[in-house]
Structure formats: C-alpha cells, structure tokens
C-alpha cells in the first residue's frame, strides 16, 4: 500500500489509476490549474477525464494502435499532459522531446522511436514536424493546440487538438464503451514511456519504462516523504525530464495533488510564488539561479538590509551546521534563529515561493555544498536525490533529520544499492527499466542480472549514505595521483553569483585549469556600477577588471582545496556553454569530451606558457544561424601556493 491507500499491483496501469482517481474526485476537486490571460484557470478531475477521454478516442480514430508511439513537444501545459495521458489510455507509448531540441535531435528521436503521432504546441513545433516529415515516413499525423500563427497551414496531416477531440466524440457514438475497455486491457508490464536520455557522449538512447516502473517509483518516494491531495505542485520543468514525470505522473496521480502550470516559462518564478508549492523537485541549476538572485539582491540593497541579512544568515548557517551534525541546538541559538527567521528568512522564502514548502529535492546533476548549506540556512528542507531515467526517477534520497550535504542519502524502499569492485554504483528495484529501445548492446551493458549499472562512481559512507563521486569517465587524476571530481570543483566555482558555468580541466596534468563563463546579467550589472563600457558578452568577458573579479572568485573557491586541486590558470570564455552548441546536454550537464575537442586550442594554451590564445570558431543561434567568431582570449595565472 502506498501513502495514498492505493495498492500498486502488476495489474495496475497509469490509465487505470487515472480512471480511478477521476471517479474518486470528479467535479469536487481541482486536478490542475493553468495561468492564462493573467488568471489561474482550474480544471477539475472531471474536466481532466473528459479531455483525456475524447483525445484518446480521437487518437484511436486517427489510427493509433496499442504499442504505437506518440511524440510530444511543448511547454508544460494541461494539453501536454492530456496528450500524454491519452496516448497511454489508448495503449500507446509516450515520447517527450525537450522544447528546445534542434532539428537534428527531433528528427533522430521521431525516426528512431517510430512515432506515429506528433503532438506539438505552437506553430514553432509544427514547423519542426513539417520539416522532418519527409525524413520520417512512419509519422502520420501532427496535432497542434495553439492556433496562433496557424492560419496559413493547410497540410492534410495537420489537425488541431480540438478537432481530434471532436473525432473522439464521434467515435464515442459508435463505440461508447471503448475508452474503459481499452484501458482495462492494459497490464503493468506494458511499456508506457520511451525516454530519450540526453547522453553526455553519444547519440540519445531510448529507455523503455513500464507502468509498473513508474507506479512503484511514485509509491516508494511517497512512502519516504508523503504528499497529500491538498498539496500543490508547480509543473514547469520539461516533461522530457524524468524528474518532472515522476512528480507529475508517478506521484501526482497517486496522491492526487494539484498540478499548476505557469503562464509562460519566463513567468515560472513569479507563478511559483503565487502558488507556494508544498513540494518541489528541480535540478541544481534552478537552485543555483535562486541563490544568485538572493546574492545579487543582497549586493544591491541598503546597508541596514544587508546587515540584517548577514546576521540572520550567520545564525542560520550555525543552526543548519548543528543540525547537519545531529547536535542539539542550544536555547539561545534557537531564540536568535527564530528572530532571524521572523525578520529576514521568512520574507526571503516567500519571495522564492518557498513559504509552504515541506520538501524540496535536487537531483539530475551535482549540487555544490555551498548551495546546499545556503538553503538549509534559509530554513528550506532541501534534500539531495540520486537517480536516473533508467530507474524511472530516483533510487536514493535524504531523510528528514538525516541530511548530509556531501551525500545523496539512503535508498528508498524496495531499492538496493551496491558498489561494484570498480566503484560503480549499481541499483536493483522494481522501477529499473526494461531496456533501451532498439539497442540491445547498450541494454546488455547497463542491465546485468537485474542490476542497473549507472556508470557513476561513488561509495557508501559509514552512515550508509551514498556519496556520488562523479561519472566514472569524468574522474580526474591529480598530479599527486589522487582521484578528483571536476564536478565538485565546478559546483564550488558556481557558488559565486558572477560565474554561470565553469569547466575544470586537469586529468593527469601537472596542475588544474578552468574555463569560466561569467554570468552576463550579474557581471554586466557589476560593470555598470563600476562604469565599465562594454557592448557584448564577449567584450565584457575579456575586460581586465572582469578577469580580476573572476580571479578573486576562484581564489575564494581555492581556499578550502588541497594544493594539487587548486585552479592555477583560467580563461574567460567569450560565450556561455549552450545546449544548442552541443556543449551541454538538454539537462545542462557539461559534455566534457565534446568541449575538450572543441576548445582544444584553449586547453593547449592553458598548459603552455602563452598568455593569449587565438580563437577562430563559429556559434549557432537557436534558429540555426551561425556566426563566426575570431578573437584573442587572455590566459590568467593564479598563485596556488603549496
């Protein structure tokens, strides 16, 4: 039994659960809200049910058969979730694409997944579908839901989501029981989602997840940190990310909490504040952004506000550190903490939309200890999780009162985690995926005797917590022969509000170096205050004053590191790493091998005596245009001591 009182069996599928919840809540409870035209518009479970039902029947009358794939792309919105649920209700398999996927990726995934129906949101996504249509012969129908800009599109394979639902209504007249009948045919072991993992090295691989995988995931996470049907959750991270699926589908459907969709991606932060969610799950990048926001506002505020913040944060850090060490908090500190909380942190939490937050999770990439402590000092119950697409979400999470900022926690129920002799993390649980689609070789490498091989290196500490070191292939060897995690260095650097991205280099080299990407808005503001002139990111990044600023940030991060791990040289890059340039994955992980190849000249210069490196390269804009960049970058040295 899960916390929701629903027994998860092999017979149960997501659509069966969906039906049950719709019947249970009906018109009396809001299933989701979307902010549109400046107003939060509610949809009850009954609305959810009807929309999904007619969409399902519409897709069936368009020829969708059990096992067929439905590809979906677009921002988080009710229609997106309806389309996914409809695909599953029809016995189909959902495939989500990231909104900002480039043409090549879209083509690869649509073709590789054999998608029959493509559901896009706006003209932009429809354009992508039209361009790849000829190369993907298995694609039959393209559905869109926002009519804006669609007035001049007359291709016969295009159809609006409303029209599909009309087809569904027609279909229902002929076969009134079809919807429930089709749902009842489903089995927990059927594949429900095909997830393309954005590989840091190779082409994306399609992970097959079953209903059973997804539902057990939700059950086991909710057993650790229960949610309630009165809770609110804001769904604003890409549906193509497993973490969002876990919260919106696996957990959301089981617990029946309300999903809230922001008006636009740009308004998400503001909308989160309006909703005040009870639970939050986001990759470190989001939390890093919030930290930066607070730090920048702090720099900008008046003396008295800065002092109040400094004092309350000092108390906050002290109390958080005591709690990390599981030591009692003395009464005096408690009182100080309470005052600081009432005067400063409560307000800050409200601005970040975290007032009602019971649990917040971060995962998907490494989060630095500095960020982690920052949120605990603020009184936010932030927990690390560890997981991957192949385990339908997560396998490890921190427990209340047992949080260590250098670990990711302990396994959730029904989950075993072990470390192999090589130090690789392996997992066994009912949520472990079925294999990669059309890629037996990769499946055999990843799934051995029911154990999922993660490719991550880590160890289990004396308290039974898992410590994730890094991706096995990323672990560096320092000059003194010690292994070291570049990710750890990078997250430390990124705690500075001036640094947006960092790339640490130094495997089997004499010293460590870094390529830094400044945060354009924060450094830009800083430069404005200093009356420095600049016209572009590139120009700003090469200012001697900015180099000095970045140097100071690195020196700060270097302080707590052993001498061989300190950064000795760095370059400010003329742009920020970007997924469109294939430098990051769609989930914002650095693709080291790729950047290593691309910026070979810079790496060479960092390990030579030159202090200038000449670059001649091209950058790609979101619409596919390219621009050539020719520039000289300065190499700065830092005294690292011994």
């Amino acid at each position: 039994m899960s916390g929701s009182g629903i027994e998860i069996t092999k017979e149960l599928t997501i659509p069966k659960l969906f039906l049950r919840q719709c019947k249970k809540y009906g018109k009396d409870k809001v299933a989701m809200r979307e902010k549109e035209f400046g107003i939060w518009i509610p949809f009850t479970w009954q609305d959810y049910y009807e929309n999904v039902k007619y969409l399902t029947l519409g897709m069936v009358s368009l020829g969708l058969k059990p096992g067929d794939k439905v590809a979906m792309i677009g921002d988080n919105r009710p229609e997106g979730l309806w389309a996914e649920m409809a695909a599953l209700c029809a016995g189909g398999i959902g495939v989500w694409l990231f909104q900002d996927c480039m043409m090549e990726e879209v083509k690869y995934i649509i073709d590789h997944s054999d998608a029959k129906i493509f559901v896009g949101e706006t003209q932009e996504e429809v354009d992508k579908a039209i361009l790849i249509k000829d190369d993907c012969p298995k694609l039959e129908t393209v559905i869109w839901d926002d009519p804006k800009g669609m007035r001049n599109y007359h291709q016969e394979y295009l159809i609006s989501i409303r029209k599909v639902q009309d087809l569904g209504r027609e279909f229902e007249k002929k076969e009134p029981d079809f919807f429930e009948k089709r749902i009842n045919e489903g089995h927990g072991d059927d594949v429900c989602l095909l997830f393309y993992t954005s590989g840091t090295t190779a082409l994306p691989k399609g992970a097959l997840l079953s209903h059973w995988n997804m539902l057990t995931m939700g059950k086991n996470l909710m057993a650790v940190d229960p949610c309630y049907d009165t809770d609110d959750f804001v769904s604003y991270l890409p549906f193509a990310w497993i973490g969002e699926q876990m919260m919106s589908i696996s957990c959301g459907l089981q617990m029946g909490y309300t999903l809230n969709f922001p008006e636009e991606p740009e308004t998400a932060q503001e909308n989160i504040r309006e909703i005040g969610p009870h639970v939050m799950f986001a990759p470190p990048r989001m939390y890093e952004g919030m930290t930066r926001q607070v730090q920048v506002k702090y720099i900008d505020s008046t003396w008295i506000k800065r002092k109040a913040y400094e004092l309350s944060t000092k108390v906050g850090y002290h109390v958080a550190d005591l709690q990390f060490d599981k030591r009692p908090v003395p009464v005096g500190w408690r009182i100080l903490h309470w005052i600081g909380y009432a005067l400063v942190q409560k307000k800050l939490k409200d601005h970040l939309g975290m007032s009602r937050l019971r649990n917040s999770y971060t995962g998907g990439a490494a989060m630095g200890p500095d960020h982690f402590r920052f949120f605990h000092a603020l009184g936010v119950n932030l927990k690390q999780i560890y997981g991957q697409t192949e385990v339908a979400g997560i396998s490890i999470v921190h427990r209340d009162g047992d949080i260590k900022f250098d670990t990711v926690g302990t396994p959730i129920p029904e989950t075993e985690v072990k470390i192999t002799e090589d130090g690789e993390i392996i997992t066994k649980s009912p949520s472990v995926f079925l294999g990669y689609y059309k890629n037996d070789e990769a499946t055999q490498k990843t799934l051995v005797d029911g154990w999922l091989y993660s490719g991550d290196r880590g160890f289990i500490d004396e308290d039974g917590h898992l410590v994730v070191f890094d991706r096995s292939k990323d672990v560096m060897t320092l000059s003194d022969g010690r292994p070291f995690s570049p990710q750890y260095l990078e997250t430390r650097l990124k705690f500075s509000p001036f640094i947006q991205e960092a790339w640490a280099i130094g495997d089997k080299r004499d010293y460590i170096t870094a390529v830094m990407c400044i945060d354009y808005s924060v450094v830009g503001k800083w430069a404005d205050d200093k009356k420095l002139n600049y016209t572009s990111y590139h120009e700003l990044s090469q200012k001697p004053e900015v180099y000095q600023l970045v140097k100071e940030q690195i020196e700060e991060a270097n302080k707590d590191l052993p001498a061989p791990a300190r950064i000795a040289r760095f370059v400010n890059l003329y742009k920020v790493f970007d997924a469109d340039d294939e430098e990051l994955t769609r989930t914002s992980k650095l693709r080291r091998a790729f950047v290593g190849e691309r910026y070979k000249d810079i790496v060479d210069a960092l390990y030579s005596d030159r202090d200038v490196v000449h670059m001649d390269t091209k950058i790609t804009y979101e619409d596919g245009r390219e621009q050539r960049i020719r520039t000289d970058l300065h190499v700065e040295k830092i005294n690292v001591g011994d």
């Binding site: 035209f37 400046g38 107003i39 804006k148 007035r151 001049n152 636009e264 740009e266 308004t267 619409d623």
Partner: protein, 273 residues
C-alpha cells in the same frame, strides 16, 4: 462619434490628395497622393528627410497640411483633431518611443483603451454597473488579444522605462492595438531592434494584418528593405517630399529611379539579411 459605413476588403480606407506641408521654406511634402486599401500592408519608404514621418503626422492629425485633403474611410478628416481621428479607428506608434516610462506595461496599454471607456464619473467612483462591465470587457480584451498576441506576459507589471528597447517597441504596438484600430500607422517599428526582435515584430505585424480577429490595415514606414519587400502589399517611395513611385514590391525593386534614389545606397539602408 462619427458613423461611417462598413468597408470591405479592397476598399480605400485612407486617401491623401495632393497634400502639401512646408516648414518655412522647406517643403516636406510637395503634393503627395496616397491610396491605401483596406486589408493591406502599405509601406512608405524613402531616404532620411524624405517626409515620411511628416506624412504620418498629417494623417494622424498632429500636423495640418497647408493644402490638400485627407480622407479616412471616405470621410474628409482635414479638420478633425487627432483624438477624433482615433475614434474613427486610426491608431499609431512612434519612431521615437512615446511610452509613459514610470507606468507599468499594463497601464500603458490600458491607456490605449481610453476612447472606448464611456462610463461616467459617478459610476466610476463606486465601480458598479457600466464601469464594472466596461472594465471587465476591457481587461479581457487586453489580456486575451494583446498580451497573449505580443507575448509580454512576463513583463506586464514592469515599469516601461525598465525594459529593453525592443520590448518597449512591442509595448508601444500593444498600446496602439488597445484602441482596437482599423488602420494603424507604424513609424519605423523595426528601427534599433536586433535580428531576433525584427523577426518577432515582423511576425506581429503580419498577425495583426492577417489574423481574423484583427485584420488591421497597416501603413508602415520602415528602412528595413528585407522586411518591407517581404510583407508589403504595396509600396510608396518618397524622395524630398515628392512621390517617385507607387507599386507592388516587385515593381519598386525593378524601378531604376528608385534604386538610384534609395535602394542604391546599399550600405546605408541595406537589409540585415
């Protein structure tokens, strides 16, 4: 308010007859004729100082031409003040932004609805009846038709002067649309925008022109030849207050006189593409 019969697509919505406008001895407009059809995007091009903005100001009523007639929807409007012309469904944006910097985006746009607010001071002071109905109607219109169209949800509560230039231009278009116009004068809507913003703005112009909900006739003064030639139905070329050509974009590009007077200056007015 002046009542005029409904125009059909292709009818003349705006006509200028032999319009003359001089400032001292400088003749800014020397006998201009113009015929804008309903449903068209009608562009006016010409080098700096050709008289394009003066022409806009004459149409809009900021200037009174010394000679000649201006007809809006078949009605002679020479004598009408700008706000009376606005009531006829004429709206405009300015080359140099004319937003109220200290006001929010939403307030700036709301201001554009002014001609549609008819309720009185008493109803307004208690917010009942007519005022309430008008406010709700007006809010719906602004949110559903303008904010959504121009994709400015994330800035609706920001003061206008805090916004980057490209967004301010968008807000100005929003304010002009709030009037729910039939004819809109766009004075260099693309000037000073980067490539991405130009593409967005060109799309918005096409949207308001083609979308069933809007179908606004646009008079466009613009230097970006790529966009002008792409989206216009008809183009007028001015030079030193004299019209040297009136035709389709293809005709204009093929006319040697135009090329010499204007398009030839590749470096100055070349398109960004």
């Amino acid at each position: 308010m002046v009542q005029v019969g409904e125009l059909k697509e292709g009818d003349t919505i705006l006509r200028l007859e032999d319009v003359h406008m001089s400032f001292g001895k400088v003749a800014a407009l020397a006998g201009i004729n113009l015929d804008v059809k309903k449903g068209h995007i009608h562009s006016i091009i010409g080098p700096n100082g050709a008289g394009k903005t003066v022409m806009m100001n004459c149409i809009n009523g900021l200037y009174r031409p010394q000679k000649g007639n201006i007809f809006l929807k078949g009605q002679k409007v020479n004598h009408l003040r700008p706000h009376k012309r606005a009531e006829l469904g004429l709206s405009r944006t300015f080359q140099k932004l004319e937003l109220f910097g200290g006001m929010t985006v939403l307030d700036n746009i709301r201001l554009g609805r002014h001609v549609h607010l008819k309720s009185g001071i008493f109803s307004g002071s208690v917010y009942v009846g007519k005022t309430k109905a008008e406010e709700i109607e007006s809010r719906k219109f602004i949110e559903e038709e303008i904010i959504d169209l121009l994709e400015i949800e994330s800035i609706r509560d920001k003061p206008a002067h805090m916004l980057p230039y490209g967004l301010q231009k968008r807000v100005e278009l929003g304010r002009a649309l709030a009037l729910n116009p039939e004819l809109i004068l766009l004075d260099e809507p693309l000037a000073g925008l980067n490539l991405e913003e130009v593409e967005d703005m060109a799309r918005f112009i096409l949207d308001i022109n083609e979308e069933k909900r809007w179908q606004v006739t646009c008079v466009l003064v613009e230097h970006d030849m790529g966009v002008v030639m792409d989206i216009s139905h008809r183009v007028n070329v001015l030079n030193f207050g004299i019209q040297i050509m009136d035709g389709t974009p293809e005709d204009v590009q093929a006319n040697p006189e135009v090329v010499k007077a204007y398009l030839g200056e590749e470096d100055l007015y070349s398109t960004r593409r």
